[in-house]
């Protein structure tokens, strides 16, 4: 007779130290050639304008960058999320050209960024 398996439940109250943001850069005059270093430099400039030297030195990482779509995934510590998000909101221009950052998803867990019901596209197989 095997023993009935014990039921265990783990509850994490925000166990994650980081927050992950999926963002995309929208330029007024269509896409330009921007490398990942320039992308990160642009975000750092935005942080520096709003929060000064102290704010610009806050560490954040660009984990993934898609050059064609100009989308990326940022990782930042929990204490810096509000600063980073507000700096992205207020960033208005890149090389004298109007631009905007769209924040598509924010989550403390990276796995949650892999699926997004807003961008889900139903294939033809479903129309049966």
């Amino acid at each position: 007779m095997e023993e009935p398996s014990k039921f265990e439940r783990y509850v994490y109250k925000n166990d994650s130290v980081y927050h992950y943001m999926k963002i995309s850069l929208v330029l007024e005059n269509g896409n330009k050639y921007i490398t990942d270093a320039q992308f990160k430099q642009l975000i750092t400039c935005g942080l520096k304008d709003l929060y000064g030297e102290v704010g610009a030195s806050f560490p954040f990482d660009l984990l993934k960058f898609d050059q064609n779509e100009l989308t990326g995934i940022l990782r930042v510590y929990n204490s810096g999320l509000v600063k980073l998000w507000s700096a992205l909101t207020l960033l208005g221009s890149y090389q004298n050209e109007a631009c905007a950052f769209r924040v598509m998803q924010v989550s403390p867990f990276l796995l949650a960024l892999s699926g997004n019901s807003r961008e889900l596209q139903f294939g033809d197989q479903l129309t049966l």
């Binding site: 304008d49 000064g52 102290v54």
Partner: protein, 170 residues
């Protein structure tokens, strides 16, 4: 009770030669501090500075400055003090640094601290005196500085004061 609580930063301006201290004005300190906060903390810092910060007192002879700020943001202003390297006054640049001595919740607590601090400084000056006359001067100064003015004010307002005396040591 709902009121604005503030923190007073008692600072000292340290310069290599004391004669350049005489030219200081509170507007100089204010403008320098505003530039330092703008550089260190950006637009957010400038906005906080505009709202709550004012230079309340400046003593050009001893170089003591009293800066007032809101309770929520005094640490931000305090951190920008370390980035000040020179004060500019009518085209003349004075190399200096600002040393924060005390953080108090009211002007009275800062005043009490200043009296104690000055007395300690005079005690430290005593062994350095070269001549007897100087020693007599210093001893007389130590004996004359007292808290009696401050104590009279306290006796008047006993019990009715619920000031938030946030005495923090630096």
């Amino acid at each position: 009770m709902v009121r604005f609580k503030s923190r007073y930063l008692l600072c000292e301006v340290c310069v290599p030669d004391r004669s350049s201290l005489q030219l200081l004005e509170d507007r100089t300190i204010y403008n320098t501090l505003r530039a330092a906060v703008n550089r260190a903390h950006g637009d957010y810092g400038s906005a906080l500075f505009n709202i709550g910060v004012i230079v309340k007192y400046l003593n050009a002879h001893t170089g003591v400055v009293l800066i007032r700020s809101r309770k929520k943001h005094y640490r931000l202003i305090w951190s920008a003090l370390s980035f000040i390297t020179c004060l500019e006054n009518r085209g003349q640049k004075v190399q200096c640094f600002l040393n924060c001595l005390h953080v108090g919740g009211t002007i009275r607590t800062c005043q009490k601290f200043l009296v104690k601090y000055n007395r300690q400084q005079l005690h430290r000056m005593l062994p350095d005196c070269k001549t007897d006359a100087e020693k007599q001067e210093v001893r007389r100064a130590i004996l004359s500085c007292s808290l009696s003015n401050v104590r009279e004010e306290e006796a008047d307002e006993d019990g009715s004061d619920d000031d938030d005396d946030g005495d923090e040591e630096t």
